[in-house]
């Protein structure tokens, strides 16, 4: 909905009309650290997409004669115990982090939002049943819940995504429920009811879109948390199995040789931290830019 600034509209008490998109862009880009995060995320996505072209070597190719080489001109970040190029493994690791982040969050957001929407919209027993279940799941630390599920399902990429997906559901359900509870009190929802709109239609067409802004912020923020959790699981040996080049598993592998080659742990950890930091900062920026209290301000 594009609004134009009309001359003479600045009557006291009436908020001036502003272009919402333009305000969003201005607030979002006003902090340098947010822009930095944006750049890192774009680079991260490009790295994951073009890993085979960017990596100087095959991340799984072993050269036992070059075991634990120090960083040099041929291997910028050195090699691991099997002589695999660390830089190439870090580059390929971005794919796992991205895939786990996107799919686990996708599962969690889809399930959590539906549950939260139903709970918040219908209230009463539906809300009590769903939200008490979610409260109970929240009694476990997220990584512990994922550990238990992953431990039950066994290690492996797919199971890690399912485990993290399940562990993250309660957060989304709670947020969506709270949003739906407040949005459904609006007059336009009452109007929908009075023209005989179905529950499904009201929920999907009217409540859902109006609940989205804080959820978008949450999804961005949780992207980093999910990647951290995946790395934690892989570090413990309950996540993505070795020899796959996932950052958490690489940190664990490097931990064994930390005296001889600390770079084996440092490099994937630094990459992980940089990406998680960027997602958090962009989430912060989105929150500021989507803040409803700013609506209508210039």
């Amino acid at each position: 909905m594009a609004k134009e600034i009309v001359a003479g509209m600045d009557i006291p008490g009436v908020p001036p009309r502003v272009n919402e998109l333009r305000r969003f862009v201005r607030v979002f880009t006003s902090r340098r650290v947010v822009l930095f995060g944006m750049v890192v995320i774009v680079l991260f996505l490009l790295t994951a997409a073009f890993a085979p072209w960017l990596a100087p070597y095959d991340p799984y190719e072993q050269h036992l004669d070059q075991s634990l080489d120090l960083p040099s001109r041929t291997h910028l970040l050195g090699t691991d115990t099997l002589g695999r190029d660390t830089l190439s493994r870090v580059i390929f690791g971005s794919r796992y982090s991205l895939m786990v982040g996107v799919i686990a969050l996708g599962i969690a957001a889809a399930v959590g939002m539906v549950l939260g929407l139903v709970a918040g919209y219908f209230g009463g027993w539906a809300q009590a049943a769903i939200m008490r279940l979610m409260d109970s799941l929240m009694a476990f630390p997220m990584i512990l819940l994922a550990m238990i599920v992953a431990g039950m399902l066994g290690p492996g990429l797919r199971n890690v995504m399912v485990a993290l997906g399940i562990a993250l559901v309660p957060g989304y359900a709670r947020m969506m429920c709270g949003q739906a509870l407040s949005v459904k009190e609006n007059d336009y929802i009452l109007a929908e009811h009075s023209i005989g709109a179905s529950h499904i239609r009201i929920m999907l067409n009217h409540i859902f879109p109006n609940c989205l802004p804080p959820l978008i912020v949450m999804i961005t923020m949780m992207m980093g948390t999910t990647m951290l959790a995946e790395a934690g699981l892989s570090f413990l040996g309950i996540g993505i199995e070795i020899p796959n080049a996932a950052w958490g598993g690489m940190i664990a592998e490097g931990y064994k040789y930390v005296i001889d080659a600390p770079v084996l742990s440092i490099a994937p950890g630094a990459a992980l931290m940089l990406v998680v930091f960027s997602f958090n900062m962009v989430g912060d920026g989105l929150r500021d830019a989507l803040d409803p209290r700013l609506r209508g301000t210039i």
Partner: protein, 318 residues
């Protein structure tokens, strides 16, 4: 207030009951038969089907699921969490031995989280936009980002392996040797405290900024009160209420972090026992620890909820 407390208590009990059902079902609906697992773990290979049936009966696994649940919860209430498959020992016994290091390290991390996080948050809020605020905020943003196990490895490499200032791993009870214990604790506690310090600082900063905008603070300023008075006496009281929530959040986060940190620093605590039991499919231990953690989290959150209602009367009537 009494009605509020009773409501919260009932809610906590409901949550705990659902939690126990989830824990129970998760373990029972697993692929894999606990008896067969027991068979392969102990030296009882070549057991006849009749003997297996007998064991099944002995462990109550031939009963209907809901009776098994009541048996388990009934036992748990009396402190009987079953027998570990791997250690052939009482689960509670095993967990009890692992609790002191975990509680010690986790408690210290939570304590430092608040002792350091709150003052930093206040300083940042008061000096908003100044260089000190910028530096602390950037550090806090890094603090909620850093992978805790990676930080542990870095610290260990730097301070234990290279500089040799601190012991690389292990745990000593402070009762046995306080100095050795403290030296071993510095790195793990630091790693675990980074997140709570950063999170508490961010929360304190934003809620103090919120409070400082209130009318009664402007009144306090216009009365000519000194900054120390306005900040410490008027703003802090209300500014700290939202920070309370972080006690609960801190606990869950520290428990999650302990699992990783105990693995990095080789500390014989509950977190490592948990990882070990999951990796070795020792379900009774996993189940027992999970239940204990859920109880701790629910009780802490109950206490927070009640103190919240006590400090902020608006909450009570919601």
């Amino acid at each position: 207030m009494t009605a509020y407390i009773i409501r919260r208590l009932i809610l906590a009990v409901v949550v705990l009951l659902i939690t126990s059902v989830i824990v129970f079902l998760a373990m029972r609906l697993l692929p894999g038969d606990p008896i067969l697992l027991k068979m392969t773990s102990s030296e009882m290979r070549g057991t006849s089907p009749e003997q297996i049936e007998f064991l099944r009966h002995q462990f109550g696994l031939d009963k209907p699921l809901f009776l098994q649940y009541f048996d388990w919860v009934g036992g748990a209430v009396r402190g009987d969490l079953g027998v570990s498959i791997l250690y052939q020992d009482d689960v509670w016994n095993q967990v009890k031995q692992s609790l002191p290091p975990t509680a010690h390290i986790g408690g210290l991390a939570e304590f430092f989280g608040f002792i350091i996080g709150v003052p930093l948050g206040i300083v940042c809020a008061v000096r908003r936009g100044k260089w000190l605020d910028t530096i602390i905020t950037v550090l806090a943003n890094l603090g909620i980002t850093v992978p805790v196990f990676w930080l542990g490895i870095l610290l260990m490499y730097t301070f234990a392996l290279e500089l040799r200032w601190l012991p690389a791993f292990g745990y000593t009870s402070p009762v046995d040797d306080f100095w050795a214990s403290t030296r071993q604790l510095i790195m793990p506690v630091f790693c675990l405290a980074v997140f709570p310090v950063a999170a508490v600082m961010r929360q304190t900063r934003s809620s103090m900024l919120e409070v400082m905008r209130q009318d009664y603070i402007r009144t306090a300023w216009s009365k000519g009160l000194r900054e120390r008075m306005v900040v410490m006496k008027h703003a802090l009281k209300n500014g700290l209420i939202p920070v309370l929530t972080f006690v609960g959040l801190g606990i869950t986060n520290i428990i999650g972090g302990l699992v990783l940190i105990e693995t990095v620093f080789n500390i014989p605590g509950t977190g490592r026992l948990m990882v070990f039991s999951i990796l070795n499919q020792d379900y009774p231990i996993t189940q027992g620890i999970t239940l204990i953690i859920a109880i701790v989290v629910v009780v802490v959150n109950l206490i927070i909820d009640i103190s919240y209602g006590w400090l902020d009367p608006r909450i009570r009537y919601n």
